[in-house]
Amino acid sequence: MANVVLPDAVLVKNYVGGDEIALATLIERHQSKIYGFIYSKVMDRDVTEDIFQDTFIKVIKTLKTKNYNEEGKFLPWVMRIAHNLIVDHFRKTKKMPFNRDTEEYSVFSIMTDNSPNIESRIISEQVEVDLQRLINELPDDQREVLVMRIYDDLSFKEIADLTGVSINTALGRMRYALMNLRKVIEKNQIILTN
């Protein structure tokens, strides 16, 4: 027997006449388009499932009350119902699916990324390397105090104990270390800012 594809209009007529299988055929035929259409708007599987179900409940009720007139096509009519339910959904949740950029408003004004970008990360690394090189140029006693204070976070009391000098000497070495660093930075016009 030849496989006859019945047009939607005939299936709708058969369904209204009591043929339940006609509805199954209609759903089978259009489910992908309708489901995909709803999903493209709401972008949520569960909501899509709900709206898809509500759409067909409306279709079933309309057809059973014999209020449907085959003026347009079946699929556009179902799509229209789905569209209205999608609008209802967004009205209920008061959430629009997307924000459009305008001249006064950009979505990036509310979305910021505070993590350092590649450029600032490269600059920081460069500053670190430059500073390290400058510190290595300092006299040993000054470098020792500066590294212990800044990198090892030791107190001047601890530095004094470890290096076997008085606190005042440690403070003095730190002062000279910083002065020397400033001098070299100014002399060579090195920029150490991020």
């Binding site: 339940e20 409940i57 079933i60």
Partner: protein
Amino acid sequence: MAKLYSKKKKASPKMLPKKETVSFLLSYSKALSITKAGDLTFETIAN
């Protein structure tokens, strides 16, 4: 001949509702009967 670099299909797979949803709709349709009496409409769901 042009070389194809993409292995993935460009078209996404068809999106379909859950079988349970379709099954519910068909059962609902079978169970629902609507009677009109003048301006009134009665909906009856058979268990």
